[in-house]
């Protein structure tokens, strides 16, 4: 109770909770769930973009794409580290991913079907992710907040890069422009769904708000994303696939059409186009790599420094 009071006071004062601090079990669990889900998303998120590395149409774009996918892996690594500060090891986190117990962002269960998808993922998917993540830079849990500051910085860079790649394509051939439009058509609605269900149906939100883990509601973030993105789409010259998308002078926001939540939940619950495939790919990589990890461990054990006499 004394601990709880100190914890509440810290939260109320917008202070940071650090690994060595006492924290309620539910707070810890919520954080582990959220941080690991976020880490898994980075790792699984390497696959749809990685799918195009071998076919990148210029060496410059190939280098940019490899660097980007590498950054995502890096984000995964420091998010796993942040989760580890809460007392759960990476092996356990990966086991939960591979068993299907832990989730990752559903957006990565859609396939990348043309090269423009690489740009669109930067512009729209990373854009939506940043909207979601910027508030987390002020999250009450210190290691997570600090990881997110770094992640957001790099993601902003990726977003600009993705948008720039699409700009170049839109100034190119008719086929290139068609690729961009096709890509935006496939990704737009999935990106809106990334902000999660409408506030009215969002079960975890209230407690997470109280704990300073979540700071802005799903619908507010979604609106913010739409308002920021529509002008960018206009500059780009693509049509966002929503006939109801229209500036509302009164609200000073864009109105938009209805998201297909059935499709969203189907994908979240395992029935998207690539759910099986993404997970199977990660599991296969992990299993195929077992002998390598075993070897590294065996080698390290053989060659660890002998304990000195003083230590013995």
């Amino acid at each position: 109770p004394e601990f709880q009071a100190r914890f509440d006071a810290r939260i109320d004062a917008d202070g940071k909770i650090e690994p060595q601090d006492w924290m309620p079990e539910a707070y810890r669990k919520t954080l582990v769930r959220q941080i690991s889900q976020h880490a898994h998303s980075e790792i699984v998120g390497m696959l749809p973009e990685g799918n195009w590395i071998s076919r990148a149409p210029s060496l410059k774009r190939k280098a940019i794409l490899i660097a980007k996918v590498q950054d995502e892996g890096g984000h995964g690594l420091y998010l796993y580290s942040a989760a580890e500060t809460l007392g759960v090891g990476r092996d356990q986190l990966l086991a939960d991913l591979h068993s299907g117990k832990a989730k990752y962002s559903s957006i990565f269960n859609y396939p990348t079907l043309n090269w423009a998808d690489v740009g669109t993922i930067g512009w729209l998917v990373d854009g939506a992710a940043i909207m979601n993540q910027i508030p987390l830079c002020r999250c009450s849990y210190g290691p997570y907040a600090r990881a997110m500051i770094r992640v957001c910085k790099e993601e902003s860079f990726h977003q600009r890069q993705g948008y720039e790649a699409l700009l170049v394509m839109m100034q190119g051939t008719a086929e290139q422009r068609a690729m961009v439009q096709d890509s935006v058509n496939r990704f737009w609605w999935k990106c809106l769904a990334m902000f999660g269900p409408p506030d009215a149906n969002s079960p975890h939100s209230e407690q997470a708000m109280r704990w300073g883990i979540k700071r802005i509601s799903n619908d507010d973030l979604r609106q913010k994303f739409i308002d920021a993105t529509v002008p960018q789409a206009n500059v780009l010259g693509v049509t966002l696939p929503d006939p109801k998308l229209k500036w509302n002078e009164e609200r000073q926001h864009y109105d938009h059409g209805e998201i297909d939540w059935d499709e969203f939940w189907a994908t979240v619950n395992g029935n998207g186009p690539c759910n099986h495939e993404r997970l199977a790919t990660r599991v296969k990589a992990h299993n195929d790599g077992q002998w390598v990890r075993d070897a590294a461990l065996a080698h390290a054990q053989k060659h660890q420094p002998q304990p000195t006499k003083e230590a013995a």
Partner: protein, 262 residues
């Protein structure tokens, strides 16, 4: 003479781009995430080297149309001058596909044998009579030293790890070693650039390479196999059947849209 120098630059560039393409195949599929990143990084360095070298060819050629992407994406198999070693799949079972099952021991073994050569080559090329190549060599040397360290560490770890990893690493080295004969078998193009002081005679590096290889293999508790048999000829443009599949995939999008700018 100028043509031989261009071929030599292309040889160095093609080595980098093809191995870069191969190593990037691990991205998202590595044994631990750290290795996904390490190989992505290796690939990134190699593609960077290739770009500088291709750009240098374009400068030398001065025909107003050669560009790094023209060289990477619009040449055919016999135009590529990379060592055959670098186009092989990541597998001791050479099934003719551009990807397929990957064996990390083959990846590590190849990166080790190649970067052990290239630290010596780049070091020598720092004194190339061609100033631009000398500059590229300086930059590439630092990167390649890192690649060598990474591959060597894993070579030792896998060789001196478990019984399984030892067997796999030995099989990979046995499989790869014959391809290294190409490193030290001079071609017309190399002989020409050695004469002008622009290129290096790899045979002058062979003793040092042997030392690098032998010391690492000893530490890894591996046996060095005899490197006999067929001497591959990729650097003269006569490749294995694998390069065609690598290029088909790598060039597919660029070739489908020859007018496009990306």
């Amino acid at each position: 003479m100028a043509a031989y120098f261009q071929d030599y630059l292309l040889h160095l560039a093609d080595n980098a781009v093809i191995l870069g393409q191969r190593n990037a195949q691990w991205c998202g599929h590595g044994p631990v995430i750290e290795e996904d990143l390490a190989l992505a990084n290796n690939s990134l360095d190699l593609i960077g080297q290739a770009r500088l070298l291709y750009q240098h060819v374009a400068t030398v050629r001065k025909d107003g149309k050669t560009s790094e992407d023209l060289l990477a994406y619009f040449r055919d198999v016999p135009d590529f001058k990379n060592y055959t070693l670098l186009e092989l799949p990541h597998s001791t079972a050479l099934t003719p596909t551009s990807s397929g099952d990957r064996d990390y021991a083959v990846t590590i073994g190849r990166n080790f044998l190649y970067s052990a050569l290239m630290v010596l080559v780049w070091d020598a090329l720092k004194s190339s009579a061609d100033a631009q190549l000398a500059a590229i060599a300086s930059k590439s040397l630092k990167e390649t030293q890192y690649h060598l360290r990474h591959a060597r560490d894993w070579l030792v770890r896998l060789g001196d790890g478990t019984d399984e990893s030892h067997a796999r690493m030995q099989a990979a080295i046995n499989h790869l070693m014959p391809y290294t004969q190409e490193f030290f078998t001079p071609s017309v193009m190399e002989t020409a650039v050695v004469k002008t002081g622009m290129g290096v005679d790899n045979r002058t590096l062979q003793a040092d390479w042997n030392t690098l290889v032998d010391e690492a293999l000893v530490q890894a508790t591996l046996k060095r196999p005899a490197a006999g048999g067929f001497v591959t000829t990729g650097k003269t443009g006569i490749h294995s059947e694998h390069l065609g599949f690598v290029l088909a995939e790598m060039q597919s999008l660029a070739r489908a849209h020859p007018e496009a700018v990306w």
